[in-house]
């Protein structure tokens, strides 16, 4: 197949090259472009017909001219995979970036990734303790979940992601996670922050990195997460690893998607993003989970920065429609000096119910979490009211709730970057202690039987 080189470019537009008069070219086929100075670039076929072929060029179209030679490589994009990828740093197109040797393929895997048959999935239900109270109590994570961090520029989402990567464990099991880290358009500084931390804790040896930085080609970002997930699938479903995939920043990925759409003059959806962005994102996020008959799992932690701190922006919005919840980082809490500044109210773990309770975390977990939410939500709302009418207008119940909101933020949420709280003593018992600042008669979300058993002062011995 790899023979003919064409010099039939008619148009170049943004990251796209248009050419005509070729032999039949496959949809999705990989392309090699040779510039007149000998530089090689790579691309992929986006549209193909007898008359015209459209190629998206990963490294951008700079310096491409009508003399550029184009070769079709006869196949769709495949990644060489092997367990030797663990401990390696690869670039955004899957080539070594750490000076090491090329990966010797155990298998060539199609990076698009076939959909998991919904009938073949297994429901995720093993609780992962992150050691972060806000997450463990209120938005519990389970193995095989896709739970993004919705953040914004200048907030400590990377610290949180790293803390989770360091501390995440299954209670009562010593199965370790392998981390697959995927950088899309982040700065070198952010990247170094990640690498140093992974190095410091020895996690790097147990990780595989795919790196596309801010000054790497933007279009390449469209394949980087697909490579990372292909590696993750291989490790999880061929070699039984529990894989934690962290990818950042999804916002840069979506910008690249928008760029391609614009170059193709597609009819845009909301705010200029392509109408198919939901489907495109789903093809990444849905590559998380557990499948019947395989021991491994893929848990995903995508990080995205919300443009303008706006959760209704298409990037967080479409993500939230696909992922199994979200952890929302709040600028307000960050400015109050609280770490981790997680706003639990808009945060959610959709798989929480399956992962908590008797035999998994603790029997009172659900009750405690509902009560924390309810009390904190009401307390926060009262802050608004107090700003208008003053504390004098509040009755006893409201006063207690108002005070609780502060306690919740300053004691329950706040913890240090290396503080690893256990679910039972560190998080749930602590929650009871803090809730006892409110009269029991106002704690309507707590079952009486748990009050009798766990309430620090109303407990029946």
């Amino acid at each position: 197949m790899t023979g003919k080189e064409y010099r039939t470019i008619t148009d170049v537009k943004g990251p796209l090259v248009f050419l005509n008069k070729t032999e039949p070219v496959a949809f999705g086929e990989i392309v090699e472009l040779r510039l007149t100075d000998g530089t090689l670039k790579n691309g992929q076929v986006l549209d193909t017909s007898d008359d015209q072929v459209i190629v998206q060029v990963f490294e951008g179209t700079a310096s491409i001219d009508k003399q550029t030679g184009i070769k079709f490589l006869g196949d769709v994009f495949k990644l060489p995979v092997s367990t030797d990828m663990i401990g390696r740093i690869l670039d955004g197109a899957g080539r070594p970036r750490d000076g090491g040797p090329a990966i010797v393929a155990d298998e060539m895997a199609d990076i698009i990734g076939a959909a998991i048959n919904p009938y073949s999935r297994q429901s995720p239900s093993s609780f992962i303790q992150t050691g972060i109270s806000a997450i463990d109590a209120c938005t519990s994570l389970v193995r095989g979940q896709k739970l993004p961090i919705f953040s914004a520029s200048g907030l400590p989402h990377n610290d949180i992601a790293l803390q989770i990567a360091r501390q995440a464990k299954l209670v009562g099991s010593d199965d370790d996670f392998v981390v697959v880290f995927c950088a899309m358009g982040i700065t070198a500084e952010e990247y170094n922050f990640f690498v140093h931390d992974l190095e410091r804790t020895g996690a790097l040896e147990n990780a595989c990195l795919f790196v596309n930085l801010a000054d790497d080609p933007a279009v390449e970002r469209l394949i980087t997460p697909r490579l990372a997930l292909t590696a993750a699938e291989y490790l999880a479903f061929e070699h039984d690893y529990h894989v934690l995939v962290i990818y950042t920043d999804m916002t840069n990925y979506c910008e690249s998607l928008r760029q391609i759409g614009a170059a193709r003059e597609e009819v845009p959806g909301r705010r200029g993003y392509p109408g198919y962005m939901y489907t495109d994102l789903a093809m990444l996020y849905e590559r998380a989970g557990l499948v019947k008959g395989k021991k491994g799992s893929i848990t995903q932690f995508p990080i995205l920065t919300m443009p303008g701190d706006d959760i209704t922006h298409p990037i967080p919005d479409l993500s939230g429609y696909i992922t199994e919840g979200q952890i929302v980082i709040s600028r307000e809490l960050h400015q109050k000096g609280i770490y981790p500044p997680i706003n639990v109210l808009p945060s959610l773990s959709r798989l929480m119910n399956a992962g908590i309770g008797d035999g998994k975390t603790r029997e009172d977990h659900k009750s405690v979490s509902d009560q924390l939410y309810a009390a904190y939500a009401q307390g926060r709302e009262l802050r608004g009211l107090v700003a208008i009418v003053g504390e004098d207008a509040l009755n006893e119940r409201d006063l207690q709730l108002l005070k609780f909101a502060d306690i919740f933020e300053n004691q329950f949420l706040r913890q240090s970057r290396d503080e690893d709280r256990s679910i039972s003593e560190g998080t749930l018992d602590y929650a009871w202690e803090l809730l006892s600042n409110i009269d029991t008669k106002y704690l309507v979300r707590l079952d009486q039987k748990w009050i009798d058993k766990y309430h620090p002062t109303d407990k029946k011995e």
């Binding site: 496959a26 193909t48 007898d50 990734g113 076939a114 789903a282 919005d317």
Partner: protein
């Protein structure tokens, strides 16, 4: 037809253009060397535009395209229930058998098991004159559902022979004198509504066991409802609650462009959940269609048609069918995606101009009908809508709201406070109560509609009072208005909130709903009396028996205890007067 020599001219994602064939619109064709399944969606000049139901990467111009002569159809007959299909009725367990846990392409699978032997029990006999839709016999398809084998649409005549016995779905069970041979399996093109004699006005509620739905915003059997809401507000949980608890005979659940794990959850759960009506597993009455967000979009587009055709088929047997589509927005997006590949002139927000007519045609297939056989059947349709950013001014929400008669508006604010179901009681509505009220009077209680009106009125008043509270605090209100706020809080926390994940609270029948509503009004009345008699509001509100009454709903047997608990509460409230 077979002499045509079709070849691919162009491939752009799921859309393939072929030349050299002259198919009919909506004809199914086989595309490329692997014979991928596709459907003709546009004809212009010598080009046929095809949407392909499978991934197209690696396919090249010049590969063959072959006509099948068929339009996109489903196989209908015994064996539909308990199944899970993709958007074009391929059984997912069969796909797993042939290709493992990942869905690869180019694999065909029949919707029905063609080998399986069923016991056919003839109810018609030789010499009977039968026509389309008439029932020839029955098959016990699952423990609870008797499948009625019908004369296929367009066939009629006098029965020459018909036999009870053991047959698979392709064997002839009945022959007509004119020569027509009838099998248990029939096929029907999904984009065409199945025929019926006439539509009736709905007059029976679809009981769902969900208090806010049944009591305040009921859906009728044969009716249509839309549930718009931002992510995380409770669309899927509500749809699943309806699939579990509504008193339909048959449930068709379509997971259209949503999460894989949500379908797994249903698959795991339904075989273990008991139908309150029959005491048997809910799975017995359920068919599922799962075309998740990462499966091919063209098949997603087809999935709602596959689902509604199956629903109509059971309706034609005289059953009440409830169909849930989660989410219709993903269906609309699939239309948008295909339309944009066709370079059609876009309408609002890039959706095709025909979006609203497609939505209308879909919901129009709901209804209560007199079947061709003279029976009474219905299809109720409940569509989730996923508006971007939760803003329902967008085309899919608006197109849906113009058609459906019930609007269950989910609210991010309520979800954030963990008030579930997060249905906003101030802006939701149902247009059915006037046609259902007689049913409630006859079957539940003669003053049911009046009680409902009182409860909604209290919620309205609360909303107005809250505006004042935001300015001056609640302590500044006169005591009767403070009481109104407490009563409204009780409506919200005790009645409207309902925990889908609690074994007992998850379902309340209509009688219990009525009794709970009465209990709230009784609290209001007794408290008024007590306060007029000198009791303090604080004392009245805090009587322990009220907490018991409210917490009682989490205990089984509540329906038998509520009267007693109410009496205890009223007694304690009266005592607050004496204490003063």
């Amino acid at each position: 037809m077979s002499k045509e020599n079709g070849v691919i001219y162009r491939i752009s994602g799921p859309v393939v253009t072929a030349v050299g064939i002259s198919p009919r619109m909506y004809e199914v064709v086989r595309v490329g060397n692997e014979g991928l399944m596709g459907e003709v969606i546009e004809l212009h000049g010598d080009q046929s535009v095809i949407q392909v139901y499978e991934e197209t990467s690696g396919v090249r111009p010049g590969e063959p395209v072959v006509r099948t002569g068929q339009t996109l159809s489903v196989q209908l007959g015994p064996g539909l229930l308990t199944k899970i299909y993709d958007g074009i009725q391929r059984p997912l367990p069969e796909l797993e058998k042939t290709m493992g846990v990942f869905i690869k392409r180019g694999v065909d699978a029949d919707g029905l098991d063609l080998e399986k032997i069923w016991s056919f029990n003839a109810t018609a006999k030789a010499g009977d004159s039968v026509s389309s839709g008439d029932i020839l016999g029955t098959v016990q398809e699952t423990k609870t559902i008797e499948h009625k084998v019908m004369v296929p649409p367009g066939v009629s005549g006098k029965i020459k022979s018909i036999d009870s016995g053991e047959f698979n779905v392709t064997q002839t069970v009945c022959t007509l004198e004119e020569g027509a041979e009838i099998q248990m399996m029939q096929k029907w093109p999904v984009r065409t509504p199945r025929p019926f004699t006439k539509k009736h006005a709905p007059e029976v509620p679809l009981q769902t066991g969900q208090r806010i739905l049944d009591f305040l915003f009921p859906l009728a059997k044969g009716g249509t409802a839309g549930i718009p809401g931002p992510f995380g507000s409770g669309k899927t949980v509500t749809q699943q609650q309806l699939a579990k608890w509504s008193d339909a005979d048959i449930v068709v659940y379509i997971g259209c462009g949503e999460r894989g794990n949500e379908m797994t959850e249903v698959l795991d759960e339904f075989p273990h959940l008991m139908d309150p009506k029959t005491g048997e597993a809910l799975m017995n009455r359920t068919t599922m269609i799962a075309n998740t967000s990462n499966m091919p979009v063209a098949a997603r587009e087809a999935s709602v048609y596959t689902g509604i055709t199956i629903a109509e088929y059971f309706r034609d047997m005289g059953y009440d069918v409830a169909l849930m589509a989660d989410s219709t927005s993903r269906w609309a997006e699939a239309m948008r995606e295909i339309s944009s590949r066709l370079e059609e002139m876009p309408g609002e927000e890039g959706y095709p101009a025909y979006l609203s007519s497609r939505l209308a045609e879909f919901y129009e297939r709901a209804g209560r009908v007199e079947t061709l056989a003279g029976g009474d059947g219905s299809v109720s349709v409940i569509g989730a809508v996923s508006p971007p950013g939760g803003d329902i001014s967008e085309p899919v929400s608006q197109g849906t709201l113009r058609i459906v008669k019930v609007f269950w508006g989910l609210d991010a604010g309520l979800a954030r406070q963990r008030h579930f179901p997060a249905i906003n009681w101030l802006n939701s509505y149902s247009l059915y109560p006037p046609s259902l009220d007689q049913w409630y009077r006859d079957n539940i209680k003669s003053d049911f509609p009046e009680i409902r009106t009182e409860i909604s009125a209290l919620l309205q008043v609360e909303a107005e009072l809250q505006e004042i509270v935001q300015l001056v605090g609640s302590d500044a209100l006169p005591v009767d208005q403070q009481l109104t706020l407490e009563v409204a809080r009780m409506i919200r926390e005790f009645f409207l909130q309902q925990n889908a994940f609690h074994d007992v609270d998850t379902y309340s029948d209509l009688k219990l709903q009525y009794n709970m509503a009465k209990a709230i009004l009784s609290f209001q009345e007794e408290s008024k009396k007590a306060i007029a008699g000198g009791a303090a509001l604080e004392d009245v509100v805090n009587v322990p028996a009220r907490t018991d009454l409210m917490r009682g709903r989490f205990e089984s047997g509540y329906e038998d205890k509520i009267d007693e608990m109410l009496e205890a509460m009223n007694k304690q409230i009266a005592e607050t007067m004496e204490a003063n």
